[in-house]
């Protein structure tokens, strides 16, 4: 890219690399800058003053600051999927080929049709949307809100998935430091020399803080040289880590801090395998906030005109970037620090149009300088700005005594004093305190282990910053047990900071407090008149401080104006609550890698890859991928595949991976006694080598989980849970073991991942198993009766386990092998079963067969049902105590009119039953009064050749044979169904026992 000449770039100086020119585009125009520029400094170097339009009034706006507090210069950075709205030009590093566009203007920045909003300014006052667009109410969604959103607003999101990756990381240290200015570097020196593990986070891409623009002398050498020597010393320390482009944005419990590192934001796109940004959780024993202070504007008419800029920002652009925001500049200050700007401007060969100082006295040195350089010093304040989208032309000065003066200038530097960055110290509900000499809030308290130092603590002189930072660093290191020698603190002079508070200059025209949200001084006055006097009400009514900059340049001025109009002091008026994050953090950074298919971890069964080779369709079941069915060529839909699988099982033999069931080893002499307490039925009397179905209740008497548990040895049971509750049941049992029944000698181990377990079902099950297990194993009814469970030897010598249990209602076994053999077991079953026509089946066929058999599962064990509701009331032992027994006896839980499990089939055999459909008596109008339950599980039954289901229906078991009505308001399907026994298939159980 070839850019035009940089008209506002100084011949020399600045921390830019003139050997590395960069081309970029802003609103389609081509410009040039240098490595080391921000987008804002490069725009300034090219004489660009107008960079955006304001939120509500579409007023032309320029660049106000040179940091992350910027309210105005927000752009859409990059293109396409990488387009980032509301990016601060003041912190966006320039790179070759950067593309940015201004926001909130149409059709162009210079000719913004929406600027017509300014004509309607009277209706956009504080709280305008509460007042103006209330009636008629239905117009809000359809008309008012879309219209307001079109007219007002910030940048546009890309609307497509972010192509970049983000990650998250943890870091640990003794001393964490926010900010690399003099205080931060001095703190790092002291802590690092003491031997502490130090992390220093700097938001900027260059270390050094204000001295990068304001210079100074430290330990007798220029600040730049001291910074460079300090960095060398810190680099030589083994455990000091300096993280640039990293903003500490929050502090949480236990010394955990949040930080966002912009790893590759300074490049067009991240290099391959690298992330865009990284979210850090930094655990620190001590932290030091050396985040500096933010210069604050003064509120006067036209203070948002492009070319009005913070005085410190003017110095940053001139000194650090060798870019001149104006050629003839005026200064409006109420403090001594603002005067630095005069020296900077004169040094760069700029003209000073005038210095307007609100303080009654100006030092003789300044008067001498003014005389020498030939500019007037005016005692008073700036009352208005003449200019517009092309920038400042003239400023009007209200002189002390009442006279007015006009000053021609193309730029105005403003300093209203400095506000310490009190965010981090206040994030645990700390309220900063007012400090009179600097007329600013300073930290009063801080989260545990945190202190503020330097400007962030209200100490503005270079000497004080170094002293405070060093002392804080040394103390923090000592607190963490590091006792090395910190040496002596770096020293510098303590320059004077005299300030006469000035917040608002009354006058005609809009005077902005919150630039980004277009909140004016009169909005605050209006809010006060309307009773929104509390700062929290003021904030929400006017939206002061609620924009993406969180009011960094506006909050204190807003409070001051509210204090003035309500006749209170500023500390009486108080501050709003400070909340993280300190700067906006992309949601992508919080998500990290957890997006798309990596949203959560996945679990694969031991036969997963085999099933995948078979073409299985997988379903997400919690974290699991489970084979749902195995389609075959020519099958037109899932129902055809599932029906085939069911028929193959019921007519021959099939197998299904059931490894997802939770499996728990229950060990110890008291294992049986323990199980008696957690299940409603008895397990202590279960014979070794046998399995039993068990049901657990919650404390409140509602059913928790079910499964079969086998006794493999006198002191060893093997308990299974449902897939869904596996982790929860393990937690529950550990709680019972450790807290409720510590007297029992019982140990629990999850063995869910140890065993690959398959259900083998169908009349030819034994034929298949005989091919798999050692011929010496007796699989006959006598040798391995129904509900038998024991270890067996498999052909080839490995050991497995067999359980004669059935979920399908067929002759069935479950076989388990150590998990690394699970894949081989699936392949061997296929190989051995080939002559038998063995069919792998998925969870759908499993579900069909359990519904046909009337077994309850997740839809019935739904957290509202009792054992009796499920038809399992007889399992509740009366001879022992168990969890949930007492509460299960509550009146409502044993009421005769409870909804209980019953079978349901449509009267018209062609009707498709739907889960969730409501049951109402025949001939009644659907409604809450007539609702008697609902359909919980449905399937197409290949055996009955029609849709069938289970439901929870009031007094269902007493109503077998009754014709009722299903009502499905979602799908609009209503028809008659018959209540029937839930066991549709082989009710006497002969098949599974056969």
């Amino acid at each position: 890219m070839v850019g035009r000449a940089q008209t506002h770039r100084l011949e020399k100086g600045g921390l830019i690399d003139r050997s590395a020119p960069l081309g970029f585009r802003f609103d389609g125009k081509t410009f040039a800058g240098f490595q080391g520029d921000t987008l804002a400094s490069a725009l300034i170097a090219n004489g660009v003053k107008l960079v955006g339009r304001s939120f509500k009034y579409h007023r032309p706006r320029g660049i106000l600051t040179a940091g992350s507090e910027e309210p105005n210069a927000l752009v859409e950075l990059r293109n396409g999927a990488r387009r980032e709205p509301n990016t601060k030009a003041t912190t966006a590093e320039l790179y070759d080929g950067l593309e940015a566009a201004s926001q909130n203007r149409w059709p162009s920045l210079r000719h913004d049709m929406m600027a017509v909003n300014q004509l309607f300014a009277p209706i956009f006052v504080a709280g305008f949307y509460y007042k103006t667009f209330m009636w008629p109410a239905k117009f809000w969604e359809a008309i008012y809100e879309p219209a307001i959103r079109r007219a007002a607003g910030l940048g546009r999101a890309s609307g497509v998935a972010d192509p970049d990756h983000y990650d998250k990381a943890w870091a640990h240290c003794d001393v964490l430091i926010a900010g690399s200015g003099p205080a931060g570097l001095a703190a790092a020196l002291a802590a690092g020399r003491s031997g502490a593990r130090v992390i220093l986070c700097e938001e900027d891409f260059v270390v050094g803080g204000r001295p990068l623009a304001d210079g100074g002398t430290i330990d007798g050498m220029p600040a730049a040289e001291w910074i460079s020597r300090t960095l060398s010393e810190l680099a030589a320390l083994p455990d000091v880590r300096i993280m640039t482009r990293t903003t500490l944005f929050g502090v949480y419990d236990g010394g955990t801090h949040g930080a966002i590192e912009r790893v590759n934001d300074h490049l067009p796109s991240p290099p391959e395998h690298q992330v865009r940004q990284r979210l850090w959780r930094i655990v620190a024993k001590r932290s030091i906030v050396a985040a500096g202070a933010i210069e604050r504007p003064i509120v006067f008419a036209g203070n948002d005109t492009p070319g009005v800029m913070m005085a410190s920002a003017v110095r940053s652009y001139v000194e650090r970037y060798a870019a001149t925001p104006a050629r003839r500049i005026a200064l409006f200050t109420n403090n001594e620090d603002g005067w630095r700007t005069v020296e900077t401007a004169l040094g760069a060969g700029l003209q000073i149009a005038a210095v307007v100082d609100a303080r009654p006295d100006v030092s003789p040195a300044h008067r001498a300088l003014a005389a020498k350089a030939g500019f007037p010093i005016m005692n008073g304040s700036v009352g208005g700005v003449d200019g517009g989208k092309h920038g400042v032309r003239k400023i009007t000065v209200s002189l002390t005594g009442g006279a007015r003066a006009e000053v021609e200038a193309d730029g105005l530097a403003v300093s209203g004093g400095w506000n310490p960055a009190v965010g981090l110290t206040s994030y645990h509900r700390g309220r900063p305190k007012w400090q009179n000499d600097i007329a600013a809030f300073v930290p009063d308290s801080a989260p545990p282990g945190m202190v503020a130092a330097g400007a962030a603590n209200g100490a503005f002189s270079l000497g004080a910053c170094l002293r405070q930072g060093f002392a804080a660093g040394a103390a923090a290191a000592q607190d963490t047990g590091r006792s090395g020698k910190a040496g002596t603190a770096p020293a510098a002079d303590d320059e004077a900071f005299s300030l006469t508070p000035l917040w608002h200059v009354a006058g005609k025209g809009k005077a902005f407090v919150d630039y980004q949200h277009d909140v004016t001084a009169s909005d605050i006055e209006l809010a006060q008149r309307e009773g929104f006097e509390s700062v929290e009400h003021l904030k929400r009514y006017t939206t002061l401080g609620m924009a993406t900059d969180q009011g960094k340049t506006s909050n204190v001025a807003g409070l001051a104006i509210m204090a003035a109009v309500s006749g209170k002091s500023i500390p009486e008026t108080g501050t709003t609550i400070y909340r993280p994050p300190y700067v906006p953090v992309a949601i992508g950074a919080f998500a990290g890698h957890h997006r798309d298919e990596n949203f959560h971890a996945t679990r694969l069964t031991p036969s997963h890859h085999w099933a995948s080779e078979q073409g299985a369709v997988f379903v997400d079941t919690g974290l699991w991928k489970r084979a749902q069915w195995y389609p075959r060529p020519g099958e037109k839909d899932w129902l055809e595949s599932v029906t085939r699988e069911v028929k193959a099982v019921r007519g021959g033999v099939g197998f299904c991976d059931v490894s997802t069931l939770g499996k728990i080893d229950v060990h110890g002499p008291d294992a049986g006694a323990f199980l008696d307490r957690v299940y409603i039925n008895t397990f202590s009397n279960l014979a070794v080598g046998k399995a039993r179905y068990g049901l657990m209740l919650r404390e409140d008497g509602i059913v928790y989980d079910d499964g079969t548990t086998s006794r493999l040895a006198e002191d060893h049971y093997f308990l299974t849970t449902t897939t869904a509750k596996a982790g929860l049941v393990m937690q529950h049992l550990e709680f019972c073991r450790q807290v409720l029944f510590p007297e029992l000698d019982v140990q629990l181990t999850s063995v869910s991942d140890q065993w690959a377990q398959f259900s083998i079902a169908g009349p030819k099950t034994r034929d298949l198993l005989r091919e798999i297990v050692d011929p010496a194993e007796d699989l006959s009814n006598e040798g391995f009766p129904f509900m038998g469970a024991r270890e067996v030897t498999l052909r080839g010598g490995i050991k497995g386990r067999l359980f004669r249990i059935s979920f399908s209602g067929e002759m069935a076994f479950e076989i388990s092998v150590p998990a690394r053999y699970g894949d081989a077991l699936a392949r061997n079953l296929m190989l051995a079963g080939k002559p038998l026509g063995v069919t792998p089946y998925g969870t759908e066929a499993l579900g069909v067969m359990r519904i046909e058999k009337g077994h309850v599962a997740g839809p019935e064990l739904n957290g509202t049902t009792t054992a009796a509701d499920l038809g399992l009331g007889k399992m509740m032992s009366t001879k022992k105590d168990y969890i949930g027994r007492v509460m299960a006896g509550r009146e409502a839980l044993v009421a005769p009119d409870r909804q209980v499990v019953v079978g349901i089939k449509p009267v018209d055999k062609t009707s498709r039953l739907r889960s969730g459909a409501h049951i109402i008596p025949k001939g009644r109008t659907p409604g809450p009064d007539t609702d008697q339950g609902y359909v919980t599980s449905v399937c197409f039954s290949p055996v009955l050749d029609q849709w069938i289901g289970l439901g929870l229906v009031e007094r269902g078991r007493e109503r077998i044979g009754e014709i009722v009505h299903t009502h499905d308001p979602l799908r609009g399907e209503d028809y008659d169904v018959e209540l029937c026994s839930p066991v549709f298939y082989d009710p006497d159980g002969g098949r599974q026992r056969g």
């Binding site: 943890w170 690298q274 990596n598 060990h667 991942d753 998990a819 690394r820 081989a824 061997n828």
Partner: protein
């Protein structure tokens, strides 16, 4: 009669592709090695039998079993703390299996076979700590996690046992991770994502490092 065999298949059989992954043209900063086919037995003291279990373990292994978060190396096994009054016995070559350990320890402890329930991954290389810092909340600094330190912690919301083994001959630290087998492939990809920018050298081995 069908001819079939029992091929042991690691949970990372499919997910792990040996060779170089991620950033190229630099020396791989992370070395990931899966150790396959090990014996892993969970030993848990019976109620009130911690002392007896400790002496039984000492008789069996010649060293005291860990009673704090440590991994202890014996002549032919690692004893890895996994919780109060419990530890893993990790070994190769059927030296310490359910059969042999039951005889030695079952008077005072309950044993559970976990040999197939976990995958074992060794992490080393100059960027091992940087990569693990993306996955684990624990402090991996040499002072905070000296050789032999163990932790029952989590990665990606999933339980893992992590311990620091002996340094490699070149002085690089080695971190061992036991992860649940059914989570292994998913966690493996998470680990590769974390390591890709440093360049990864991927291997598997039948031997401990």
């Amino acid at each position: 009669m069908a001819e079939f065999s029992w091929v042991s298949r690691s949970p990372l059989e499919q997910g792990l592709v040996t060779g170089v992954h991620g950033a190229r043209g630099i020396k791989a900063g992370v070395l990931l090695t899966e150790i396959r086919n090990f014996d892993l037995i969970q030993v848990m003291a019976r109620r009130g039998k911690g002392v007896q279990m400790a002496s039984a373990a000492e008789a069996r292994f010649g060293v005291a079993a860990p009673d704090v978060p440590k991994a202890i190396q014996t002549a032919d096994a690692s004893l890895i703390w996994s919780g109060p009054d419990q530890y893993f016995v990790l070994s190769k070559g059927s030296k310490h299996t359910m059969d042999t350990l039951t005889r030695a320890l079952s008077q005072s402890a309950s044993l559970s076979d976990q040999s197939h329930a976990r995958a074992l991954i060794g992490v080393s290389g100059t960027k091992a700590r940087a990569m693990l810092a993306k996955l684990s909340s624990i402090d991996l600094h040499p002072q905070a996690l000296p050789i032999g330190t163990a932790a029952a912690t989590s990665i990606d919301h999933t339980s893992v046992n992590l311990w620091r083994g002996n340094d490699r001959p070149d002085g690089q630290a080695v971190f061992n991770l036991l992860v649940f087998a059914t989570f292994a492939e998913s966690l493996w990809h998470t680990m590769l994502d974390a390591a890709a920018e440093y360049g990864v050298d991927i291997r598997h081995s039948e031997e401990f490092a």
